[in-house]
């Protein structure tokens, strides 16, 4: 979103929106997620997906990964506004599609159907590191890790093999090679 809240300033020429992945290191304290999410909703920014968990139990640091869409100006604002929050330690941002960055989502897929359908489903998932987490003679739960779009596609494919339930995480990200986020 780039529409200003006050209509007094007529929105200027619209710039192109890009999808960015923003990684935030925060103190793992009460309300910190609400602060980050509240900043997005309060200022009218999008959240496409969100993943958060503690990554350092000694220093009490959580890592939040947010996928968001916005014009360069909005993305810049998001980073600067996040940087102002007291429990935020650092903020990193990169474009989705950046070759130096890996990012993945995980999905759990429950298939209910006969043996043929279940096998077919596992075969469809082959490219995405399928792990069978649970299985009965009627059902199977498959875990896959892939990109968002890939999971979208596979969900479509699996409809005909008896997909009854999907649970997905938000994206998490990491740099390739020896480098780390600064």
């Amino acid at each position: 979103m780039s529409k200003p809240k006050s209509a007094y300033s007529i929105p200027g020429k619209k710039q192109k929106s890009d999808t960015h992945v923003i990684v935030v290191w925060v103190d793992n304290e009460a309300g910190v997620l609400a602060r980050v999410v509240g900043l997005f909703s309060g200022r009218g920014y999008n959240i496409e997906s969100l993943a958060v968990a503690e990554v350092d139990s000694k220093l009490n640091i959580s890592r939040i990964t947010i996928v968001t869409t916005g014009t360069p100006q909005v993305i810049e604002q998001i980073k600067l506004q996040l940087g102002k929050l007291v429990p935020v330690h650092k903020v990193a941002d990169f474009m989705r599609g950046d070759k130096k960055i890996i990012f993945k989502e995980m999905a759990l897929l429950k298939i209910v159907g006969n043996d043929i359908k279940r096998k077919k489903a596992i075969k469809f998932c082959k490219k995405f590191n399928p792990v069978v987490l649970d299985k009965t003679n009627k059902s199977v739960v498959i875990q896959i890790t892939a990109l968002r779009r890939e999971i979208d596609t596979i969900m479509n494919d699996l409809k005909k093999t008896g997909l009854v339930s999907v649970s997905r995480t938000g994206a998490v990200a990491m740099t390739r090679g020896a480098e780390i986020f600064k």
Binding site: P4, S6, Y8, S9, G38, Q77, Q81, G83, V86, V88
Partner: protein
């Protein structure tokens, strides 16, 4: 073993360590242990407001006029929700407030207990940071950190929510006032390269302008001194936002007056036509920029601000400089003196045409109005108030509306921290309680709240506070029986459909003053105005001054909605050619 203190005692030990002299507050069930402790701490005086919003605005007035953080103490539930307007106001105008709120006991949180509300949840978007204290051992650390967050970087409000059981529990007191940087949140990141670039632009510019804001006030009195030095060193024209008034003398020849929606013709045209704009501690607010696409199209823009998120938020700038404006100006002055001694005189010729142009705009005399000898014109009332109080180091607060803009246009400030007004949030009812806070900070000074009759009624109960503490504040009401600014917009934009903007059944303000135990004065004609104002100044008691002014007067000049800076409405004669049409009407 060191002594154990209760949570309530720790609150006061922290406030003492922070040199707090005044708390503005209102008691209630969930803060009673703290109020019980008050009697044991003589150095801290409590000012009892009549509403928590009043307590908050009073603390803002105290903070803005003294440069110290304001401290507010309220109870849980309604106490906290009533303080939200003041916290938001302080957040928008970057005023350091520390609000301590009581909360229901820890074991009752989340049960919809009596006077419970999610205070930290409600105040999260209107504070720089807030804390719910869950362990008494954290209390002293949190309060000291709260003061640090409120007063460092870009100042603002913070809130500490303390459950009642925590106020009773005992622990050791740790004095942890820290001066260290907080997560790197203090930004003084500029380098000499940026300063050199700025100085180079200044040397090359033939149509420069300095555009200064509240950041200069927040940076302390030194910033105002440096600004004066910078202006005289460069010979550049200077304009100021509403919040920045006072950082540069209002009657100086290089000062073009306030800019923006109700700014002067010369200031707005100079902003539009300049080739170098140096923004010092202002934030390109929408009331300043008008139509963004046509905002100062030909200028190179430099933005000096302590808050990096203010830069490129509304207007893209060419040279951002992140830092405390005092330190940046000091570097600029040093560099300028070293590299270009006698800059002002050597640069005179280069900017002479620019100054000629400015004089042309000035000759339009955009603050002019048609005076009358029958009814008091509101602009005239403020001019008279200014003339009769200018030698007194007067502190002015305002409410919000036409009177606020007239005050900004016609009252000339010479010193910082003398002008307290709600700019960002535009809170009607700000001025009266703010005047209470200002008078607390400056007991011997003249404090005047320039008010409108509609605004002042929103917090009129604080007259009782003024009387209780013998605070001789003067409430100077420009009474036109209308919500004047609403009426003005309805006249210009809604075919004179004055929907709900007239206040019937107004109180008799003179009798109201007497009912509160203060003095009521009424002025009806221009002839008696001066005498009545003098009478007001000479009373050493709170005064409500009911100044009956022209009911139809509009505030000009005005940049209509959706128009750029160089298309201003100048007054009754100018309106025919410059109608607000179509799109402009839907804008706020």
């Amino acid at each position: 073993m060191s002594k154990l203190y209760s949570g309530a005692e720790i609150v006061f030990k922290c406030l003492e360590a922070q040199d707090v002299e005044y708390i503005f507050g209102y008691p209630g069930g969930a803060v009673l242990p703290i109020y019980d402790e008050l009697k044991n701490h003589e150095s801290i005086k409590h000012i009892l407001a009549r509403h928590e919003q009043g307590a908050g605005h009073a603390a803002e007035g105290y903070a803005r006029s003294s440069g110290k953080p304001g401290v507010v103490l309220v109870t849980s539930g309604p106490g906290a929700t009533n303080a939200v307007t003041a916290l938001t106001d302080a957040y928008m105008d970057s005023i350091p407030l520390v609000c301590i709120s009581g909360q229901v006991p820890t074991h009752l949180i989340g049960t919809d207990a009596f006077q419970e509300c999610d205070t930290t949840g409600i105040t999260r978007p209107c504070t720089k940071h807030n804390w719910l204290v869950k362990d008494v051992k954290d209390l002293s650390k949190i309060i000291h950190k709260a003061f640090e967050v409120a007063t460092t970087g870009r100042p603002g409000p913070v809130l500490v929510d303390i459950p009642k059981d925590i106020q009773f529990q005992k622990t050791k007191y740790v004095n942890s006032i820290k001066r260290k940087k907080l997560n790197g949140k203090i930004h003084n990141k500029f380098n000499q390269g940026e300063i050199d670039q700025l100085v180079k632009s200044m040397v090359n510019s033939s149509k420069p302008i300095l555009y200064t804001g509240g950041g200069v006030i927040n940076s302390g009195p030194k910033a105002s001194e440096l600004l004066r030095e910078l202006v005289s060193l460069t010979g550049f024209p200077i304009t100021s936002t509403l919040q920045g008034l006072g950082s540069y003398p209002g009657d100086d020849n290089q000062f073009l007056g306030m800019l923006g929606m109700h700014g002067t013709y010369e200031a707005n045209n100079a902003m539009h036509d300049c080739d170098l704009m140096i923004n010092i501690g202002a934030r390109f607010d929408d009331r300043i920029t008008g139509k963004i696409d046509e905002f100062s199209p030909k200028s190179k823009k430099v933005h000096i601000d302590i808050d990096p998120s203010s830069i490129n938020k509304n207007v893209k700038v060419d040279l951002p400089i992140v830092g405390d404006v005092s330190e940046v100006m000091l570097s600029v002055i040093k560099t300028l003196k070293k590299k270009h001694p006698n800059f002002a005189s050597s640069n005179k010729e280069k900017t002479s045409k620019w100054w000629e142009k400015i004089s042309e705009w000035r000759s339009v005399n955009s603050l002019n109005f048609i005076n009358s000898d029958k009814t008091i014109k509101p602009q005239h009332a403020i001019q008279r108030l200014y003339e009769l109080t200018k030698d007194k180091d007067t502190y002015i607060t305002t409410e919000v509306g036409q009177h606020q803009m007239w005050a900004a246009q016609h009252y000339k400030f010479n010193k910082p921290n003398r002008w307290m007004t709600s700019g960002g949030l535009g809170t009607m009812g700000y001025g009266l309680p703010a005047a209470v806070g200002v008078q607390i900070a400056h007991p011997d000074k003249l404090v005047v709240d320039i008010a409108g009759e509609a605004s002042v009624l929103m917090t009129i109960q604080e007259m009782s506070t003024a009387v209780q503490y013998n605070l001789p504040i003067k409430i100077f009401i420009l009474n036109n029986e209308y919500m004047g600014m609403v009426r003005q917009w309805q006249e210009l934009l809604h075919e004179k459909n004055y929907s709900e903007s007239y206040t019937a059944a107004l109180p008799d303000f003179v009798k109201l003053a007497e009912a509160y135990g203060c003095v009521g004065i009424r002025a009806k004609t221009p002839d008696e105005l001066d005498e009545k104002i003098k009478e007001m100044i000479n009373v050493n008691k709170p005064v409500i001054f009911d100044c009956l002014v022209d009911k139809e007067e509009n505030c000009f000049p005005m940049i209509p909605s959706g128009k750029p800076h160089n298309q201003m409405l100048l007054g009754p004669n100018d309106q025919k050619e410059n109608k607000i049409t179509g799109k402009g009407k839907t804008l706020v």
